[in-house]
Symmetry: C3
Subunit: 452 residues, 3 copies
């Protein structure tokens, strides 16, 4: 690539004497510089993943009907808020503190800056010793917390879409509290916390299983317990379409997710401060993009062949499925494979969505297909194209699947028994916006307003 002009002239300034003494090592990234790079990577990629919360909100707001739109917006901003608070209160410690090859972390509460960081921040003078104590950790503790936190929120976001249009607000939010504070962190500790699955060799780079399938399993169990929307499935087995009210918003949401996914996968390199890390990170970015592209194209072709029309929502779900599929192993060193992995994800989502409808499992936005099905595929793909073992990957999928189904099933049943999780038929008919929130998402628009 020629496009630049005068760069690195600076480097010419490197003194010959310095080079002579320090040797090639002189040109390396220094320890404190690496610390800054690594921490900043967590912050930048963390804000990208945070932005995915907006993506889910828009995707879901676009795919529900007008009468339930404000409610899904509320659920999304509330779940993101609760995820952060719960992960601060107990989640992070459960996932990352003292796991040591086991199956759960520490029951400590509140996760705050390290003592070394506080000592440096509050010192009169930043001595080498104080700095060294901080940089020994290779990244700022709270930058890591921030990055991990936004992943928890993603898992919760997946659930909200599936269960839209019929679940009550408060029971849903209580489920989110348990999911983000307890269910997610415990299984997270098994792999990313260095627990037994990590020791076994299970590999999940950025969370096809740990984030997406877990959210998908929780959504699946919830959907079964909650039941389908009224009128979705006719007595004769007919599936009644309930089209989303605002497809440009759903498109925007998908673009937001794609954009944020560079943070999701790229940041999961977990370090930036070396030529090796940034080269690997660039590879991750490219695979992430190509897998999503593969998912879109595959889903488009599939719907053209099957339905003789290109379905926009399938194309959007193809993008998401492609992204989920590559998430377990976005470090493939031959990028054509990423297109293939993503395209298979796109094919799967087009097949899975009608299949779930046949099973009368009502997934409003297609999240189970895009996150759980593609998440399983992506995790297995590491055992096919990547460095993992197929059977270890399968083992991890099954273990985490069983755990999440049981844990979330218990919570859903408890909530159902204690307070009920579903709005009344009348409220469902009226729409959750008016019945649960007492307002309308689009009070002046068309049919929405005519029902007032």
């Amino acid at each position: 690539m020629i496009r630049s002009i005068k760069t690195f002239l600076t480097l010419a300034a490197v003194g010959l004497l310095g080079l002579a003494i320090a040797g090639p090592a002189y040109a390396a990234v220094t320890e404190e510089t690496a610390f800054v790079f690594n921490s900043f990577s967590f912050l930048v990629h963390g804000f990208l993943v945070m932005w995915m919360a907006a993506g889910f909100a828009m995707l879901e707001a676009g795919l529900v009907r007008t009468k339930n739109t404000a409610t899904i917006c509320l659920k999304n901003i509330a779940l993101y808020s609760l995820a952060g608070i719960m992960y601060y209160l107990i989640g992070y410690h459960l996932m990352y503190t003292n796991v040591d090859g086991g199956w759960i972390g520490s029951f400590s509460i509140l996760y705050n800056p390290s003592d070394a960081e506080l000592a440096l921040l509050n010192a009169e003078e930043a001595t080498d010793e104080l700095i060294g104590a901080v940089t020994a950790n290779s990244y700022a503790s709270m930058s890591d917390w921030f990055f991990q936190m936004v992943f928890v929120a993603t898992a919760a976001s997946i659930v909200s879409g599936t269960l839209a249009e019929r679940i009550k607000v408060w029971p849903f939010l209580i489920f989110v509290v348990v999911l983000t504070g307890i269910i997610y962190p415990i299984q997270g500790s098994w792999v990313w916390g260095g627990g037994f699955l990590a020791e076994r060799g299970f590999s999940d780079f950025a969370g096809s299983t740990l984030v997406h399938s877990v959210g998908g399993w929780a959504a699946l169990v919830g959907a079964i317990i909650l039941g389908p929307r009224k009128g979705k499935y006719g007595p004769d087995g007919r599936v009644n379409p309930m089209p989303g009210a605002n497809l440009p918003l759903a498109t925007l949401g998908t673009f937001v997710l794609w954009f944020g996914w560079f943070g999701f996968n790229g940041g999961s390199q977990l370090a930036l401060g070396s030529a090796l890390d940034v080269s690997a990170m660039a590879i991750v970015y490219v695979n992430t993009n190509l897998a999503a592209a593969g998912g879109v194209v595959a889903a488009m072709l599939m719907t053209q062949v099957i339905y003789k029309k290109i379905d926009l929502t399938m194309a959007l779900n193809g993008a998401i499925a492609g992204l989920v599929s590559i998430t377990a192993g976005p470090d493939l060193q031959y990028h054509l494979l990423a297109i293939i992995v993503g395209a298979i994800g796109g094919v799967l989502v087009v097949l899975a969505i009608p299949l779930l409808d046949k099973l009368k499992i009502d997934d409003v936005v297609g999240a189970i297909s895009a996150h759980l099905v593609a998440g399983i595929w992506g995790t297995l793909a590491v055992g096919i194209f990547g460095s993992g073992s197929f059977f270890t990957q399968l083992y991890g999928i099954v273990v985490i699947g069983i755990y999440t189904v049981i844990a979330s099933g218990i919570v859903w049943f408890a909530l159902k028994a204690l307070m009920g999780i579903r709005v009344s038929d009348e409220e469902e008919e009226t729409g959750l916006d008016r019945s649960e929130l007492g307002l309308e998402a689009y009070p002046e628009f068309g049919r929405g307003s005519q029902t007032v």
Copy 2:
């Protein structure tokens, strides 16, 4: 956190001889590297704050009625444009050049790259001397300008929401010109420019007072002088709801603001190039997120208790209030405090919005409550939980409040006298989109189109 693999192998390459000679200093961030980090931090965090302009636009577009939607979009893109131009023409110099403990900067015009930078950029060769002259400043001059500029625009964005649906476009834009070119920079010089309030010890990390309250005061004065929308307050004291036309858009706007606020507060660390700075910045990110989360949850609980329904727009304003509240002191080293500070902000906004309605001050989007009230609270909170003195904080709030009220009052009255600031009753009834812009925001949607 275990999730990484082979990082810092690079560091092992550090030659022993080099270490032996340079000692621990060898591992530090070098001066030029720190310069790059600091400047890049301004750019990255600056673009995040720039994005907040879109957030305000969407929030406000979602909370006005359809007939005024295009106008509020226009005002937002125009105010962002004017803010940048005015800050380049005179604002930055007024705020930052030669303040020296005083109350105003320099009356110079145009802010351009430093001589040292121009010398380096135009040199045949980048000599050590030229580089050293540039890095002596610790960040690229225009990176700082960019970062400061987007803050000015934020102050102006606050005003547009409050005064929506009845103010004429041009008088509003002229107010923006004065606010961003003169009113804002002068008070900014008192604190961030190193003026008399800074010397007094007043502390406002990222602008709870300097940006949010100033915008809020200007909006408050404008709202009083402009008067409420026709029909908003019945003769019997009844408050007529005028619900926003597009709540998913308002939700999107809130998410954009939250996302951009990592730039607003994180970038206000003003440096990235050391372990100390990036550790502090990570703390700021986490507090920013948790305060917003606290604001959402508090506002939701409040509306549930008071109104027996969760109000989406209150939850959105709770997020913003939480963010504004933490902005004066996002460097709290114990994150639980951030949740508390944000939650109190969320409570205040839920109380303030109906209170303003009682006073017949018509704030279309709740900006006075979310930015002024929470801004005052956040600034005081630094005197309670942070390192500031409560009375100094109070002093600064009062001084800047009085100044902004008087200055913006003069401008509003002058505009009213000279050209009128309010559209006619008939134009208000028709809507500003058709009367001021000659078009419609949603020509094909429901009621909006039926009025054609």
Copy 3:
């Protein structure tokens, strides 16, 4: 600027002995650090440009009528996907491999990480030698690919808006395949690939001509061959307005483009790892912002003067025209010039849009005016205000223009002959969403739903 506290204390830790030996060079950015900075800049600025794909999608979705909204969303996500795949398959090599002053690169397929990078990534140990082989390239190969790829997609995005509401989906996508895989890369090789136009001294910093005009030429030829929308131009020469259905969405799209343009122009500095580069990059950011602001203000004033109303869509196009105008030379060292360059762009777009209508060239979103006309102006401006030669600039514009017109004309005619490019009159009347996709973008909103 005073606002910071304790920074660079770290730097005080630099050992005197080290300084004594290494001299000022010690303070420079090291080679590996520069490599990380440069690569990370490509990734960060790349994701910003990727986000512009969402901006185009929203802008176009807001400016078409409801009945064609879902289709334009589909085209946008599909074109972004195809652009990435084609650029991976053949585009990048055609543009950047072995151009050597010629007019085309290599016909190799698939662009994957460099051998040096693979060697480092797969080594047992990251030796100095392996690292040095990687850092010799000054940036990670795939980070550059990612950054260049998002530019290709931008060119394709421009075409979709102009041809909306009447072009069939598949022929459009096939055109995108050829444009992004062949047409764009070949002309790109002439300048950025180091081909004959680069040798001639033609200067286009970030692509006023190479990206925006090329997209604009392809759109212009397509619009002429495709013909205007039914009913757009009356037999009496009357132009029938067909207003966009969702102006807040168009506003959002414009803000997204503005935001993403910091990546487009800022990242085109192509390096970050030195004081010189980051200072230059900051200048680019500021010029980018001020040119857009100038475009908005100029377009507003123009429409006020000409039409006695401020036209929102013209203001939005003014922003885009300002951005396109500065893209060829955003490195101006006196920022007032950027306001002027952008403002002239804003004036041009207000004049060009009705002119095209007079010529009965139907450009649904104004893309030809904003991208082609402003792109030509911006490229010439480098010869007026910047370091380029006016005649060389003109020469490059003409050469690339002729090439793109011929190349895209051949493809459009071939597609027209082979499969037809335009939907039937009846399908156009019904809308592409129902005829091509079998769904509706806003099934519950107003007129859109009433046509069902």
